[in-house]
């Protein structure tokens, strides 16, 4: 166990020395890997932010039904009863026009506008939750309700949430695809860099073999080299993404304020950061492993 540990230490130390022996080469390699990884990592960061934003809005799908502005209260209560009996409707909330008016008046800036109007501009309304919340079923209900008498407008409240959800799903798939593609790129970079390393250290490999080194012993420093490449590239990617996030934070917040949103762009979370570094180190190792496999086959 002690022997095993100290041999791993030696191999890791050797890998670090080799990385440091050609600093310009190493730096450029790390930069290449870092930039490749920064794309999916940045995508993931934006995605996490978007997810956070959409999570803040309620996603309970409801149907809003607005009566015609000149409809009498009688017509509204008939609709209310009809909705209450209607199969598929779970809950009906009646919002009288007076209540809407009062709520709007208490809002900032609107009071003067509303008081200047001759009559209450708001109609009676219903908020309906349904048993079957699938988009298709709700759209069918909306079409149905629209044909009822004195109903002016029917609206699916959750439509934009669903659209955002679908968009996020697409975003997640894109990030995965990007990660898979660039991950393969990372494996390829690691593979060819390790291959070059093997050529550089050919004499050492041959002599070690003659002196009784096992394949494991010979491979070890190269595998650590691959891990270090991946890990270093991961760190570079993390720094790039974090720097970009901090840089974009202020202008983005300003943009969001124009839309009356509060948005502070979050950098990669602890879980995503760990995932990025682990993923990068693993792929670097994998590239090195494939490279060594291929090299060892000659013996």
């Amino acid at each position: 166990m002690r022997v095993w540990l100290s041999q791993h230490q030696d191999a890791a130390r050797l890998a670090v020395r080799r990385l440091a022996a050609a600093p310009v080469n190493s730096l450029l390699s790390l930069l290449a890997i870092g930039i490749a990884l920064a794309l999916p990592a940045g995508g993931q960061m934006l995605l996490a932010n978007a997810l956070h934003l959409s999570g803040a809005t309620s996603a309970v799908p409801q149907i809003s039904i607005f009566m015609a502005a000149n409809a009498e209260r009688q017509a509204a209560s008939e609709i209310g009863e009809r909705l209450g009996r209607y199969a598929g409707v779970r809950q009906v909330l009646f919002v009288p026009r007076e209540e809407t008016l009062a709520r709007m008046k208490s809002g900032p800036g609107l009071r003067e506008v509303i008081e200047a109007l001759p009559a209450n501009p708001f109609p009676d309304a219903f908020v309906v939750s349904v048993a079957d919340e699938s988009l298709a079923a709700m759209e069918r209900l909306a079409v149905e309700f629209r044909q009822w008498p004195r109903i002016e407008h029917v609206q699916l409240d959750s439509a934009w949430v669903r659209r955002l959800d679908a968009l996020l799903k697409l975003g997640r798939t894109s990030v995965m695809l990007l990660a898979a593609l660039l991950g393969m790129g990372l494996i390829a970079i690691s593979f060819s860099l390790i291959r070059m390393q093997v050529l550089t250290h050919r004499a050492e490999i041959e002599v070690s073999r003659l002196l009784g080194a096992t394949n494991g012993f010979i491979q070890r420093p190269f595998l650590y080299f691959g891990i270090l490449l991946g890990l270093g590239g991961g760190v570079v990617a993390w720094l790039l993404v974090t720097a970009a996030a901090l840089w974009l934070r202020a202008p983005l917040a300003e943009l969001a304020r124009l839309y009356d949103l509060t948005l502070a762009l979050q950098t990669l979370g602890a879980r995503d950061s760990a995932l990025l570094l682990g993923f990068a180190a693993g792929l670097g190792w994998l590239g090195a492993m494939i490279s060594m496999r291929q090299h060892m086959q000659q013996y």
Binding site: V3, S6, A203, V207, L210, L211, G212, A213, F217
Partner: protein, 215 residues
């Protein structure tokens, strides 16, 4: 310890480096492999270390048939053998000290004791003061002695040396011969391919001629 049973070795195009060689080197023995250039001396040593494979016959080391040895066991056979290569095979990007350290690193020898052993081995070949030097900074004879230090640092039970005195003046050659004698005296089996047979007067000779062993 080492037994050749009708061993032959043919290199790819069809050249017979060894034909029908049968002999035995017993434990604690010192023997010389002699013969003209191209007689097959290096080939014989390489077969023992598992660097080349026999094309015919059987080669037994410590009762173990090399042909039956799985490939994964080969490193462990080599660790018990100290070998001085004809072309030395030093690593020129490592210090003298690190060159001698390599066999110990390979077996995972504890680091503190390893440094001591390396210094002892360098001391034995008269290179104690050069441990920080790089191999290119050594003379041909010093490189030869460095190769010997690396071969013995692991305290192998079998020592194979391919022309270990090739580049040395008479005095240094005699010193090197004395080193081999000392290892022989402490019980190491020693097999040396050499032209300088006069340095090892007491050793048995295996005389090769065009790949055949003369009796």
């Amino acid at each position: 310890m080492i037994r050749f049973e009708r061993v032959s070795k043919r290199y790819p195009p069809g050249l017979d480096a060894l034909s029908d060689v049968s002999c035995e080197v017993t434990e604690h023995e010192m023997a010389l492999v002699c013969g003209h250039s191209g007689a097959g001396k290096s080939t014989l040593l390489k077969l023992i270390a598992g660097i080349e494979k026999p094309s015919g016959g059987a080669l037994l080391i410590g009762g173990q048939n090399l042909a039956a040895l799985p490939r994964s066991a080969l490193p462990f056979l080599r660790r018990r053998i100290g070998m001085v290569f004809q072309d030395q095979k030093l690593l020129f990007d490592r210090s003298v000290f690190d060159n001698v350290m390599l066999p110990l690193a390979i077996v995972g020898f504890p680091r503190r004791d390893a440094a001591q052993r390396v210094r002892a081995a360098l001391d034995k070949v008269g290179l104690a003061s050069r441990e920080k030097a790089m191999p290119v900074m050594l003379s041909g004879g010093e490189q030869q002695r460095l190769a010997i230090a690396r071969a013995v640092v692991n305290r192998p039970s079998l020592l194979l040396a391919d022309e270990p005195t090739a580049h040395l003046d008479a005095q240094t050659a005699a010193d090197v011969a004395r080193i081999f004698h000392e290892f022989h005296h402490v019980g190491v089996t020693v097999l040396i391919a050499t032209y300088a047979t006069e340095l090892f007067p007491a050793a048995r000779r295996l005389q090769l001629d065009h790949g055949r062993l003369l009796s």
